[in-house]
């Protein structure tokens, strides 16, 4: 739409690119033919000039950002865009002083082809689509009617001022010129709005309305600009009625066409990413390429390119995110943000630099002041009128304060500037005046309004956005609300917005998603489940941040064959560690722990040995580290969650169930997707159970647990033969697991040398897809660590009383162990449950002393004095037995 091929205004070295060539994308073309004669070094500035300048400017802008962020005080008050503009002014001044002429202007072609698309794509792609479509009515109203009203009113009012003779004679402009000017100056600018509002944090609804308007008004601006431009060029006298009609028609063509182009490319993009499984590395590229192609295609046929990219971004996201790998997702996100952010930085800086060029300026006070007054006034009037109408239809009316913010948030920016530069000076004779006015308006809105909007929002007490973390409950309830309302609408027989959204979702589920999503992604797609995965990951991350590493190191050291981890654990930054008073008991515990770990099943070393026997892989070490990490994470997450949510012992019952299930489900868990893969170490359960259970034995077992899912133990115990059969009886509800019965467990565990049992497991599970497995030995290893951990927590020599006290104490290791211990109380639990009603407020501390007698003090060199460790041993046994009986 805009005359993008406008001749490059820059002269000499300032020309960053040839008018037609892509400057940012093209590598420097090598000089045609070498220079005659040979020389050691040649000065080749001309060859690298263009990219070098581009890189240089981006570097300057980015460095400036660093400098700004150095002072929190400044950035908390002054928005970054303001600082950048001021910096640009300064730099422009320096350039002007050195080169004696203004260089490095914001070129419209560069702006529209390279700087704007990333910002629009970013905003479209990360647009909260639900919010956007919920408010689409309001957004469209403001974008279309508001912009139309603004441009006509401003243009007409300025023309009135001119007619009144207040303007200088030099401003040679008719009604059409003023309308043209009005059209370009009245559009709210997405770049400026985004830059300012992102720092203000107003509530989402208000933000989406202002921002959505700034994006969608592009179509109106383009059409108005184009129509008036052609009118001006034709001369007002030649304009006929059909031209007006054409103008109106072209609005629909430009806007709907732009959106259609965007949808088309979104479809293509989604379809392409469906088949990128084997070329993961270039997945992100498709996103950018296709979106950029959408922009260029729309531009090519003079449709609204901003609309095209916006809709492309909004619509493709769901499918693209489902298709591409997790790493690609991160890549897309970061690249997009980086590009958008640097574009924005460069835009604001160049706005500042461009303003220095006084040769283009022609000042007229009446025009400037009039424009400023009118755009503010008409924006406010327009907003109030439209809101009044809209509030009749809106569920949540926009109140006065919202309206103030909306009218005040109508910032103008680089789009207006680029458009005014694009005007043809020969046809629009008042161009210089318009340029000056536009610069002033842009500066005023960005600097003054941008600076004051934060205090204003604070002063008016505008509802801010509350950035709380998403919770499962929220997700679930909001889904429920949607369903409820949809149902009530059905009951009432009213087909409203929700009805159509429901229809759309069904259509999407039935056809679109199946067409555009990978089978695996489609199968696993559920929003609540997604949130669950995300929450688990988040928990994992925050847990890593929170827990002291010393504890983990203590647990890791014996298990970890590499010295790296030990050395790494020296860097302990957590505060909790400082608080820890290293008592004698702690040391004893540690020693105890080492003793136990030394004589116990060693997951790592065994694992490595058997692993290398089957596979000689260079990344064994890496895998091992990863697995250790996962194992630790899993265990610690469990504890973290329970401590975080204050789960008390009533819950341990539920956990037992899970434990039992876990053992079943994890027998040969192969995970296919990144998401679930990620989730599994952190989730309570292995996420996707895809592989069928190995033998009939196990199958029957799994059903067994399903039935009596109260007893995770039974399943384990029952698995092994003679001794454990007896064990099973003891584990069931009625019989108390008295010390008399328990003693066999250590012996049974002793009989089975741990590593042997382990090896049996490994033989089974390593053989399948090794890279994607959380093998059962991880589970056993986990159990292992629990057992070792428990022995640390409750050293046999300790008297019950003080020991319980220690447990409650602040030592972080022990605190984290507490929930684990609950897992180990599986045996006492049935006893407790049967003997007396378990009150919710009797945590394990009451159980603790009861457990103590179960431990034989002289046996502490062995691993299993209490029920928990022996359980894990049995699990191993069971697996092995199953294996043996099979083979």
């Amino acid at each position: 739409p805009r005359a993008r091929d406008a001749p490059s205004r820059r002269s000499g070295a300032g020309a960053m690119q040839p008018p037609t060539g892509p400057a940012l994308a093209s590598a420097p073309e090598s000089a045609p033919g070498a220079a005659p004669g040979s020389s050691l070094l040649r000065w080749q500035w001309r060859e690298v000039q263009a990219p070098c300048l581009v890189a240089g400017w981006i570097l300057v802008a980015s460095l400036a950002k660093i400098v700004f962020q150095l002072s929190k005080k400044v950035t908390s008050v002054v928005p970054e865009s303001c600082l950048l503009i001021l910096l640009g002014l300064g730099l422009g001044g320096i350039v002007l002083a050195i080169a004696k002429r203004a260089e490095y202007q914001l070129e419209p072609s560069m702006f529209f082809l390279f700087l704007l698309p990333p910002i629009v794509l970013d905003s479209g792609y990360f647009m909260p689509s639900r919010l956007f479509f919920d408010n689409l009515g309001a957004i469209l109203t403001y974008a279309v009617i508001g912009t139309l009203w603004n441009s006509f009113a401003t243009g007409a009012a300025l023309w009135g001022v001119k007619q009144a003779g207040l303007m200088d004679e030099g401003v040679e402009a008719g009604l059409m010129d003023f309308l043209l000017f009005g059209s370009l100056i009245s559009a709210v600018d997405p770049v400026a709005v985004l830059a300012i509002f992102e720092e203000v944090h107003i509530n989402e609804t208000l933000f989406i309305i202002v921002f959505g308007e700034s994006l969608l008004n592009d179509a109106v601006t383009v059409v108005l600009y184009k129509v008036f431009n052609s009118f001006v060029e034709m001369g007002p006298v030649h304009v006929q009625a059909t031209d007006y009609l054409k103008g109106v028609a072209s609005f629909f063509v430009v806007s709907l066409g732009g959106a259609a182009v965007g949808l088309l490319f979104a479809f293509l993009l989604a379809l392409i990413t469906r088949f990128t499984k084997r070329v993961r590395i270039i997945e992100p590229l498709f996103v950018f390429l296709l979106a950029y192609m959408a922009y260029l295609a729309a531009e090519m046929v003079s449709l609204s390119s901003i609309l095209a990219v916006t809709f492309c971004g909004i619509c493709c996201k769901k499918y693209v995110e489902a298709n591409i790998s997790r790493k690609s997702r991160t890549t897309v996100k970061y690249t997009m943000k980086t590009l958008a952010s640097s574009s924005e930085t460069v835009i604001f800086m160049f706005l500042g630099i461009s303003a220095v060029d006084t040769s283009k300026w022609a000042w007229d006070t009446a025009l400037v002041l009039g424009t400023l007054l009118f755009i503010l006034l008409f924006r406010a009037v327009g907003v109030i009128l439209q809101t009044w109408v809209l509030n009749h239809f809106r569920l949540m009316p926009l109140d006065r304060i919202d309206q103030v913010v909306m009218s005040y948030g109508g910032l103008r920016g680089a789009v207006a500037f680029a458009l005014v530069i694009l005007l043809d000076g020969a046809k629009v004779r008042a161009k210089d005046y318009f340029v000056a006015t536009t610069i002033v308006v842009v500066f005023f809105t960005v600097l003054v309004q941008g600076l004051t909007i934060k205090p204003l929002v604070k002063w008016l007490k505008v509802k801010r956005s509350d950035h709380h973390k998403p919770t499962l409950n929220e997700e679930l309830h909001e889904h429920a609300f949607d369903h409820i309302l949809a149902a009530v609408e059905d009951v009432v027989g009213h087909h409203g917005y929700r009805y159509w959204r429901d229809k759309w979702e069904q259509f999407d589920k039935r056809y679109l998603s199946q067409l555009l999503m990978r089978k695996s992604a489609y199968r696993l797609k559920d929003e609540i489940w997604d949130v669950y995965c995300k929450l688990n990951i988040r928990d994992a991350i925050s847990f890593v941040d929170q827990t002291d590493r010393a504890t983990s190191a203590l647990w890791l050291c014996p298990a970890c064959p590499s010295g790296e981890r030990e050395s790494g654990s020296g860097a302990c930054l957590d505060l909790q560690v400082i608080d820890t008073v290293r008592s004698r008991r702690d040391k004893e515990d540690a020693v105890m722990h080492h003793v136990l770990c030394g004589s116990l099943y060693k997951p790592r070393r065994r694992y490595k040995a058997s692993y290398s026997r089957h596979f000689i892989s260079p990344s064994a070490q890496e895998r091992q580290d990863k697995e250790i990490f996962q194992q630790n994470m899993k265990r610690r997450l469990e504890t973290f969650k329970s401590t975080k949510h204050n789960v008390c012992s009533a819950k341990s019952k539920a956990r037992l169930k899970k434990d039992g299930r876990k053992k079943v489900s994890s027998l040969g868990v192969a995970e296919s997707e990144a998401c679930t893969y990620r989730a599994s170490p952190s989730s309570l359960l292995a996420a996707a159970v895809l592989v069928a259970v190995d033998s009939d034995d196990e199958e029957s077992d799994s059903s067994e647990t399903e039935k009596e899912d109260d007893e995770g133990i039974i399943f384990i115990a029952r698995a092994t033969d003679e001794i454990l059969q007896g064990k099973k009886a003891s584990g069931s509800l009625d019989v108390c697991p008295s010390p008399r019965i328990i003693p066999p467990s250590p012996t049974s565990a002793e009989k089975e040398l741990p590593w042997k049992g382990d090896r049996g497991d490994l033989a089974v599970y390593i053989s399948s897809e090794t890279t994607k497995i959380v093998p059962v030995d991880m589970q056993t290893a986990w159990k292992q660590s629990i057992s070792s951990l428990e022995s640390v927590a409750s050293p046999p020599g300790a008297e019950p009383g003080p020991h319980a006290k220690t447990l409650a104490g602040p030592a972080p290791e022990e605190r984290h162990m507490m929930p684990e211990q609950r897992t180990c109380f599986q045996f006492p639990n049935p006893l407790l449950r049967s003997s007396r009603p378990q009150s919710a407020s009797s945590p394990e501390r009451t159980e603790q002393p009861e457990l103590q007698p179960l431990m034989a003090p002289d046996e502490h060199g062995r691993m299993s004095t209490s029920a928990g460790p022996s359980n894990s041993r049995w699990l191993i046994q069971f697996n092995r037995h199953a294996r043996f009986s099979d083979g």
């Binding site: 919770t471 149902a487 009432v492 409203g496 559920d526 609540i528 669950y532 819950k651 359960l685």
Partner: protein, 188 residues
């Protein structure tokens, strides 16, 4: 489609009676009375015949919410009472003290939603109840074990007193946009 005729005509009646809307305000009682006399009692079967409701995961529960325990018919009055939950909250009205809690208050809206979860109406969403709801709402792609996980986690998240269930208090502290999400513009 035939079965849906009754509710649809009801909706028409509702549209007519819109200015007087469900709140027992009294000002337009006569209009409501007339409506009440004109409408036939609504049967459960009528609602179950609505095609869209059949595919709604919570459809059955919502239908049941319109009927009293053990009854299969509802009259206009109680039907409207249920609908009144979904009136948008009007500003300023909530400040009036001394009046009974209006049907469309945040609390009432939440209560309505809560009852849909709490099937045995013991004032708590137990783990099993949560699991049932999840089973209804979450797609079949998610396995039962995963559902259990989600249910556990959901309860754990909201459970503050540690009784392994979500009470109404715990339910209502969630930061939900109830006013907006649980309102029908039609009933404004």
């Amino acid at each position: 489609r035939h079965a849906a005729a009754t509710p649809h005509s009801l909706a028409g009646a509702l549209e007519q009676g819109k200015p007087q809307t469900p709140l027992p305000d009294g000002s337009s009682r006569t209009g409501l009375k007339r409506l009440e006399s004109q409408t036939q009692p609504l049967g459960k079967y009528d609602l179950q015949g609505i095609g869209e409701l059949a595919v709604n995961p919570l459809g059955d529960r919502i239908i049941n919410a319109f009927f009293k325990e053990g009854e299969d018919l509802t009259d206009f009055r109680s039907f409207i009472r249920v609908l009144a939950h979904f009136r948008p909250v009007e500003e300023g009205k909530s400040n009036e003290t001394g009046r009974p809690e209006p049907m469309n208050s945040r609390l009432r809206k939440l209560q309505f939603a809560f009852q849909l979860y709490d099937q045995d109406s013991d004032g708590k969403i137990s783990r099993d109840e949560m699991l049932q709801v999840l089973r209804l709402m979450v797609g079949i792609q998610v396995t039962d074990e995963q559902l259990v996980c989600i249910a556990e986690r959901t309860i754990q998240e909201a459970d503050q007193d540690g009784d392994g269930a979500i009470s109404f208090e715990e339910f209502s502290v969630e930061k939900l946009n109830v006013e907006q999400r649980m309102s029908l513009r039609l009933l404004k």
